[in-house]
């Protein structure tokens, strides 16, 4: 087991606030319309063991906008189907000349395993229920486009925190800047343990309590595929936690509504909210590209 290669991004938890600010600053200078050849001659492998639309396409566009070459490897149609281990897949990709691996995997810690055995940077594009650092960074990027700073900010994260890697990464990130974070949902989704995640995190079971006076609302998808063995009735969830126009009025007037996607209209939010003036959901997707350009530039030592 070695230390991950320089430029790896495995999670937000162990980043320092100044590294995060550095990445966000770099992201603001990135523009996919104005390509910069920072990754010229570099091969970025997108290794996806799990489905993805936003993350995969924006990493690919980000790499190409920096003149990098991308190769997509997915579990179906590759040797992974034949039972090749994560590490053997990693060694193979390294041997064909990968300079960086962007990896999504259903098992928490899989990118850490890869990074501790390879000498090239590994970027975590979502590992199980653990972290999704590029999403947290693009969300921070989005928040700072709409809010002056993190100072005194109140953020409510509503929904399935337990199964959410986005929530974990965002909590770590926002907590490093002293943001007041309220996690909201039923005990099946927001266990008491969730409050131990980072300083400044509190829990509530009542959406009204979470929304009152908040600056930012982050909604999460109810992850049916991770609900193994959980007993939760969707109708109850909708009645108690769905984001509606009436409920949004409890938040600050200039509050923004975020969602990492994919959204399920009629479940965690109504169409009126998703398409409403306070929604920045599409903007988040848009911001994914410059943020991931910054992450890739840093990975390749071009964070200038």
């Amino acid at each position: 087991m070695n230390k991950p290669a320089r430029g790896s991004l495995l999670g937000i938890e162990h980043l320092e606030a100044k590294e995060i600010l550095g990445l966000l600053k770099l992201a603001r200078r990135m523009n996919p319309q104005k390509p910069r050849p920072l990754l010229r001659g570099k091969r970025v492998v997108l290794l996806f063991y799990e489905a993805s639309t936003r993350t995969r396409s924006s990493f690919e566009i980000a790499a190409k906008s920096l003149a990098g070459m991308t190769v997509l490897v997915q579990s179906s149609g590759s040797s992974i189907e034949k039972g090749e281990s994560v590490l053997d897949t990693g060694y193979t990709l390294r041997a064909v000349g990968a300079d960086c691996i962007v990896m999504r995997h259903p098992s928490a810690g899989a990118p850490h395993l890869m990074a501790s055995h390879l000498d090239i940077p590994v970027i975590n594009a979502g590992d199980g229920m653990h972290e999704h650092p590029s999403q947290a960074l693009l969300d921070a990027f989005t928040i700072l486009k709409h809010k002056r700073s993190f100072q005194g900010l109140r953020v409510a994260i509503i929904g399935d925190i337990l199964h959410s890697r986005v929530a974990r990464s965002s909590c770590h990130l926002l907590s490093k800047f002293g943001v007041n974070i309220t996690l909201c949902g039923p005990p099946e989704f927001v266990p008491d343990l969730a409050a131990t995640l980072a300083p400044g995190v509190r829990l509530t079971r009542h959406i009204e309590d979470a929304l009152r006076g908040t600056d930012v609302i982050m909604l999460l998808r109810v992850q049916k595929e991770r609900l193994a063995g959980q007993k939760i009735r969707l109708q109850d969830y909708i009645a108690r936690y769905q984001m509606t126009t009436a409920r949004l009025k409890l938040a600050k007037r200039d509050a923004i509504v975020m969602h990492p996607g994919p959204i399920i209209r009629g479940l965690e939010l109504t169409s009126e909210i998703a398409d409403g003036p306070q929604s920045v959901i599409v903007d988040e997707v848009h911001n994914g590209v410059p943020t991931r350009m910054a992450i890739l530039a840093r990975a390749m030592g071009k964070a200038k």
Binding site: A108, G109, L113, D127, R168, P191, L197
Partner: protein, 434 residues
């Protein structure tokens, strides 16, 4: 392991610690024909000996007994063999090891028990098989306890899995009671631990790992102790106990004079869930590393006598079974070569548990649990199984130098105090440290 025609050995000048005999003094010991021939204060043994061991400054103890090891044979020789596993045992000061039946195939017939005990296996220490409690350890039909016992099984268990059904456990305890055979339980309510890979707590939440609540162990121990109280003469042994709540049930059973015993592993008294760090699979085992509070409770129970034995749950695995995603990695770590040093470093030096008590946990304690006659104490006529160790010697454990076939230990590179200097089994010196 016949001791006939082995040279006699005189162990001179060592500090003899034998908890069962209540001896804690400098003594000379003569071993002859595989048995303890004489014990006497210094310079009083007049009989000649073929060989002498100068044990001045060292502790001389009855040979250590490990109630819980996986030697992986039959069927999983790529993880460990009886030859390599017993060599690791000897290096760790263990002269007797009790093997778990969750091999391939499961040891659920008298033939396999006999196979394990056969000299052809090449064991260098005493191997006492524990047989499966149910056929294939599938939790259904009980095995033939009487036949297994006649073949040499010292207990029954479905280790690796619990005996979950109330009726099955009741019947196992009842049959065990008739035969005076302990039933060893791996206490885990597997209905609520499916796909889980570590203890439920802030660390599992942070790492996003599905997790096993402490209650999954506690409820089974609670039920089993209740059954053991109800069934006269039944013998329940709780394997690798890891939680504070389970200890409460064991205390309740002991107070009620039920024949309830328990063992604790070195890793559970040394480490906690936080030590898993960033998905280090050498910290993944079942039961998992628990909370700091659970560890504190275990330390108290080790000191106050609630715990009967330290057992390693030595569970070797090949590299390819550990160098995978945390959730997919095999449960278990090796432990035979680090057990004594961890006990001395953590229990004796850090927590001031007397050496006498620690030796008890490795010798007379486990001997009592499985009723191992002639072992666990060096009374005259007992088996000449002796462990000699230096309680002050500092050393660094290097996994690469382990005698085990596997390297899955969380203690690689640890600086420890307390080293096994010699291991004698049936009057034969098997291991000597330089």
């Amino acid at each position: 392991m016949s001791g006939k025609a082995t040279p006699s050995i005189l162990i001179k000048g060592g500090h003899f610690v034998d908890p069962a005999a209540k001896i804690n003094a400098v003594m000379d010991i003569l071993l002859r024909d595989g048995r303890v021939a004489e014990i006497a204060p210094p310079h009083q043994i007049r009989s000649a000996a073929d060989e002498k061991i100068d044990a001045r400054g060292l502790i001389v103890a009855p040979g250590f007994i490990d109630l819980h090891v996986h030697l992986r044979e039959p069927g999983q020789g790529y993880k460990e063999t009886i030859v390599t596993g017993t060599a690791a045992a000897a290096a760790g000061g263990f002269t007797t090891v009790c093997t778990m039946p969750n091999t391939a195939p499961v040891v659920d017939t008298p033939e396999w028990v006999t196979w394990l005990r056969s000299p052809e296996r090449g064991a260098v220490v005493n191997v006492l098989p524990i047989a499966a409690a149910t056929r294939s350890s599938a939790g259904g039909t009980l095995t033939d306890f009487a036949a297994l016992q006649r073949a040499g099984a010292v207990a029954v268990t479905d280790d690796g899995k619990p005996i979950l059904g109330d009726d099955t456990m009741r019947m196992a305890l009842r049959l065990g009671a008739e035969l005076n055979l302990p039933v060893v339980q791996h206490a885990e309510n597997t209905r609520i631990t499916e796909n889980c890979s570590m203890h439920s707590g802030p660390t599992s939440f942070r790492l996003g790992l599905r997790s096993m609540p402490a209650a999954a162990e506690a409820v089974i121990v609670d039920r089993d102790v209740t059954l053991a109280q109800q069934i006269r003469e039944s013998r329940l042994h709780v394997a690798h106990l890891s939680t504070s709540d389970a200890l409460k049930s064991v205390r309740r059973g002991k107070r009620a004079k039920a024949r309830v015993t328990c063992e604790v592993t070195p890793h559970h008294f040394t480490l906690i869930d936080e030590n898993v760090g960033e998905y280090n699979t050498n910290f993944k085992m079942n039961p998992p590393l628990r909370s700091a509070t659970d560890r504190e409770a275990i330390l108290v129970a080790l000191a106050d006598g609630t715990v009967d034995a330290i057992a390693t749950d030595h569970a070797p695995h090949a590299l390819h079974e550990k160098q995978v995603e945390f959730e997919r990695a095999a449960f278990g770590i090796t432990g035979l070569e680090t057990a004594l040093a961890l006990a001395i470093t953590k229990l004796h030096r850090e927590h001031k548990i007397p050496l006498m008590r620690i030796v008890e946990l490795f010798t007379s304690g486990p001997a009592r649990v499985f009723d191992l006659r002639g072992r666990g104490s060096l009374a005259k006529g007992n088996h000449a199984d002796v462990t000699i160790f230096d309680p002050k010697k500092r050393w660094t454990f290097e996994a690469a130098k382990s005698r085990s076939l596997s390297r899955n230990t969380p203690f690689d590179g640890w600086q420890l105090t307390g080293k096994v200097m010699a291991t004698i089994v049936g009057g034969k010196i098997l291991h000597r440290a330089d």
